[in-house]
C-alpha cells in the first residue's frame, strides 16, 4: 500500500511532521503496534463499525489460541488441580512434567514418536532430492520435457482413488512397512511447480556460462543452482516436513501393526477414540490422571508444528505461494 504524503489538491497531510499534534494515546498505540498506514483520503471508521470489527478480530484470535493454550497448560498441571478445576486448567499452579514422564516411558508412545521423526526426516530429505532434480530438469527445454510436465500437471487435478493405491502399495510389499508412509509422498506436484518456477527465474547467463566452460548439468545444479535456491528449498522442505509429520491417512490405510504407528495414530486412538493405553503399554503402575496424559499426547503432536511455524511464516511472502497457484 502506498503511503500518501500529499492530497490530490496539493495540501500536505498528517505525516511525521504532524506527529506532535497527535494525542498521547495515539502515540502510545503507534509505539506498541507500529504506525497506522491509513491513507489521507480514507475517513476514520465510525465507532460502531470499529467496535464490531475489534470484536470479530479478538473473537477469531481467541478461538484459535485458547484451545491450544488450555491443552498445553493442562498437560503441565497437577492431578489435584485438574480434578478441582473440572478437567481443564488455564494456569497450572504447581507445574509438573509427570504426564510427559509417563508417556515417554510408554514403549508405544515413545516408539510412535521415533516412527514419526524417522518418516519426517527421511521423507523430507528424499522428497527434496526427487523434487529438486525433477524441477531443475524441467526448468529448461529438454528432450521429453513437455511430455513430463504434462504428466505432472495431470496429478494436480486427478487422484487414482484409494482402492487402487492400496492395491499398489500391497503389490509392492509395503503393507506394514515404514516405507509405505514415505514413498507415496515423495513427489508433490504443487511443491514441484513452486520449485520449478523459482529455478526458471535464475538468469540463464549464469548456467550458460558454466556450460560453455564445460560443466555438466549435475555440476551446474550442485554448484550454481542449489546455492542460489536456499530460501525456496527451505520453504518446500518445511512444507514436506509438515505434511509427513501430519500424515494420518496413509498410516490408517497401510499400517495395522501398532509398533509402527506414527504419533497421529496414537493421538486418534488415545484422545479421539478414548482407547485407554493399558498399564503395561504405559510401562508404569501408578499413572497420573488420564486427562493430563491425553493433553500431553496432544502437545507432542502439536509442538513440532508450533516450533517450526515461525520459520515457515518467514516465507509466506505472496510470491512463493500464490505465485504458483495459477501457473
Amino acid at each position: 500500500m502506498t503511503t500518501q504524503t500529499t492530497r490530490s489538491d496539493g495540501r500536505p497531510v498528517a505525516g511525521p511532521s504532524a506527529r506532535s499534534s497527535q494525542g498521547l494515546h495515539q502515540r502510545l498505540w503507534g509505539f506498541a503496534f507500529g504506525a497506522s498506514q491509513r491513507p489521507a483520503w480514507m475517513e476514520r471508521p465510525s465507532a460502531p463499525l470499529t467496535i464490531a470489527k475489534t470484536f470479530v478480530i479478538v473473537a477469531i484470535a481467541l478461538s484459535i489460541l485458547v484451545p491450544m493454550l488450555v491443552v498445553i497448560s493442562t498437560s503441565f498441571a497437577s492431578g489435584e488441580q485438574i480434578k478441582d478445576a473440572g478437567g481443564y486448567v488455564l494456569f497450572p499452579t504447581d507445574p509438573t512434567l509427570e504426564a510427559y514422564r509417563t508417556i515417554f516411558s510408554s514403549p508405544l508412545v515413545f516408539r510412535s514418536i521415533g516412527v514419526s521423526v524417522f518418516v519426517t526426516v527421511v521423507g523430507t530429505l528424499l522428497a527434496l532430492c526427487v523434487t529438486i532434480s525433477m524441477a531443475y530438469a524441467l526448468s529448461r527445454p529438454v528432450v521429453g520435457g513437455r511430455f513430463m510436465l504434462m504428466a505432472i500437471i495431470l496429478t494436480l487435478f486427478f487422484s487414482p482413488g484409494l482402492i487402487p493405491m492400496f492395491l499398489m502399495v500391497k503389490q509392492l510389499g509395503l503393507l506394514n512397512s515404514i516405507w509405505s508412509l514415505i514413498l507415496p509422498g515423495v513427489f508433490a506436484g504443487f511443491n514441484f511447480i513452486v520449485m520449478r518456477s523459482f529455478f526458471m527465474g535464475i538468469p540463464q547467463e549464469l548456467t550458460e556460462a558454466a556450460r560453455i566452460d564445460g560443466a555438466g548439468d549435475f555440476r551446474i545444479l550442485r554448484t550454481i543452482v542449489l546455492p542460489l535456491s536456499k530460501a525456496v528449498i527451505a520453504v518446500i522442505g518445511l512444507f514436506y516436513a509438515v505434511g509427513f509429520w501430519n500424515s494420518f491417512f496413509n498410516a490408517m490405510l497401510y499400517i495395522s501393526d501398532q509398533s509402527l504407528w506414527p504419533v497421529q495414530m496414537i493421538l486418534r486412538s488415545y484422545v479421539i477414540q478414548g482407547t485407554s493405553l493399558t498399564a503395561d503399554q504405559l510401562g508404569v503402575q501408578q499413572a497420573p490422571p488420564p486427562q493430563s496424559i491425553k493433553m500431553a499426547v496432544v502437545v507432542v503432536a502439536l509442538a513440532p508444528i508450533v516450533l517450526v511455524y515461525p520459520f515457515l511464516q518467514k516465507y509466506f511472502s505472496k510470491g512463493v505461494i500464490t505465485g504458483a497457484i495459477k501457473g
Binding site: Q4, A32, F33, G34, S36, Q37, P39, W41, E43, P45, L49, K53, V56, I57, I60, A61, S63, I64, P67, V70, V71, G87, S133, A137, R140, V143, G145, M148, A151, F157, F158, P160, G161, L162, I163, P164, M165, F166, L167, M168, L172, L183, P184, V186, F187, D217, F218, W245, N246, S247, F248, Q264, L267, R268, V271, I272, A301, K318, T322, I325
Partner: protein, 316 residues
C-alpha cells in the same frame, strides 16, 4: 505477434544428438518419473478392477471381466445412495457457508490499518492450516465434546450440556465450523493478494467523488477480486465430491456411521474393510469421473461469462 518474434536460431537437432546432450537432465528425471509411475499412473490403470470381479488371490490380469455390473450394483446399493446424499449435503453447506468466509476475512484484514497488529493477526489465523485433522478434531473434542471445556462450564453454572460433537442434526454445521477454524485464514491469502493488486488510486478518486466505505467495497473491491473468486469457485466445484475423508472417518464413532458416511469413506469401508475391492474402486472411479466433468463444465461456464477460468484458450 509472429512478425516481431526473432527467427529460430537453429534447426531441431536429431534425437540422438539431443539425447546425448541432455543425458544428465534425463537422469535427474528418473526418480520423479518413477514416483509418478508407481504412485499415480499405475494405480490409475489399476482402476480397471472396477470392471472386474477382483479378488485378492487373483492378479489383475486373471480377474474375470464383468463390464458395468459393479456400477449397476453400486447404484442399487442403499448405502451408496446414503453416502452420495450426505456428500452432496455437506458439499452444499461448505460451499454456501464456508466459501465466503476467507473473502470476508480478507476484507477485514485489508481494512486493518495498523501493520503490526495486522501481521500478528495473520500469523494467528494461518497457524491452524498446518495442524493435522487428527489434532483439529482432538482440540474440538476437548473444547466442545461431552466432557469438554464449554460443557464443563455449562454444567458448573447449572445448565444442560449441549452435544455439539454427537448431534446428528447439526453435524453439517460442525463440519463447516471445523473447516472454517482450520482453513479460513489460509484461504484468505489468495484474496489478500488480489486485494493488494487493486489500484489504490481508484479508491482515492472514488472517495474524492463522495463514495463511502461500503460503496467503495461494492464498486471497486469486489469487482477487483472477481477473477480470483471465480477461479476458486471452479476449483471448489471440481472437488465438491471430495468433502474431506479424514474429517469424517475421525468423527464416525462420535456421530454414527449413517451421518458420517461420504463417498470416500464408503469406498474405504466397502473395499479395504469389507473386501469388495471392485465395488470400492467403482465408487472411487465414478466419483473421479463426475469430479472431472464438473471442473470442465464450470470452466466452460466461466468462459461464457467472460472470465479466465483455470486455463485460457491458449496454452502457456
Amino acid at each position: 505477434m509472429p512478425s516481431t518474434r526473432p527467427p529460430r536460431r537453429r534447426a531441431k537437432k536429431p534425437l540422438g544428438v539431443r539425447l546425448r546432450k541432455d543425458w544428465q537432465m534425463l537422469v535427474l528425471m528418473i526418480p520423479g518419473a518413477l514416483a509418478l509411475l508407481l504412485f499415480f499412473y499405475i494405480p490409475i490403470l489399476g482402476n480397471v478392477i472396477a470392471f472386474q470381479d477382483y479378488q485378492p488371490y487373483f492378479t489383475i490380469s486373471e480377474a474375470p471381466f464383468v463390464g458395468l455390473e459393479k456400477f449397476v450394483e453400486l447404484f442399487q446399493d442403499d448405502r451408496f445412495a446414503l453416502a452420495l446424499r450426505n456428500t452432496l449435503v455437506y458439499a452444499a453447506f461448505q460451499l454456501v457457508l464456508f466459501f465466503p468466509l476467507p473473502i470476508l476475512l480478507a476484507l477485514i484484514v485489508d481494512s486493518m490499518m495498523c501493520q503490526r497488529l495486522r501481521k500478528a493477526f495473520q500469523s494467528i489465523v494461518y497457524l491452524p492450516h498446518f495442524l493435522s485433522w487428527v489434532l483439529v478434531i482432538a482440540l474440538f473434542q476437548q473444547m466442545l465434546g461431552g466432557a469438554g471445556l464449554i460443557n464443563q462450564a455449562l454444567v458448573t453454572s447449572g445448565l444442560d450440556p449441549i452435544p455439539f460433537m454427537t448431534n446428528t442434526d447439526t453435524f453439517a454445521l460442525l463440519i463447516v465450523g471445523e473447516i472454517a477454524w482450520k482453513d479460513a485464514g489460509w484461504g484468505m491469502i489468495i484474496f489478500l493478494a488480489a486485494l493488494a493488486s487493486i489500484d489504490q488510486s481508484l479508491y482515492e478518486s472514488a472517495a474524492a467523488d463522495g463514495a463511502g466505505r461500503f460503496r467503495r467495497t461494492w464498486h471497486i473491491t469486489l469487482p477487483g477480486m472477481r477473477p480470483v473468486i471465480v477461479l476458486l469457485l471452479i476449483l471448489n466445484l471440481g472437488s465438491i465430491l471430495t468433502v474431506g475423508f479424514e474429517q469424517f472417518i475421525l468423527q464416525r464413532d462420535a456421530v454414527g456411521a449413517d451421518t458420517a458416511e461420504v463417498l470416500d469413506t464408503y469406498s474405504y469401508y466397502i473395499g479395504v474393510i469389507g473386501g469388495d475391492w471392485s465395488l470400492g474402486a467403482a465408487a472411487g472411479l465414478a466419483k473421479g469421473v463426475v469430479g472431472t466433468v464438473l471442473v470442465l463444465l464450470a470452466n466452460k461456464v466461466a468462459h461464457m461469462l467472460g472470465e479466465d477460468g483455470i486455463y485460457r484458450g491458449r496454452p502457456q
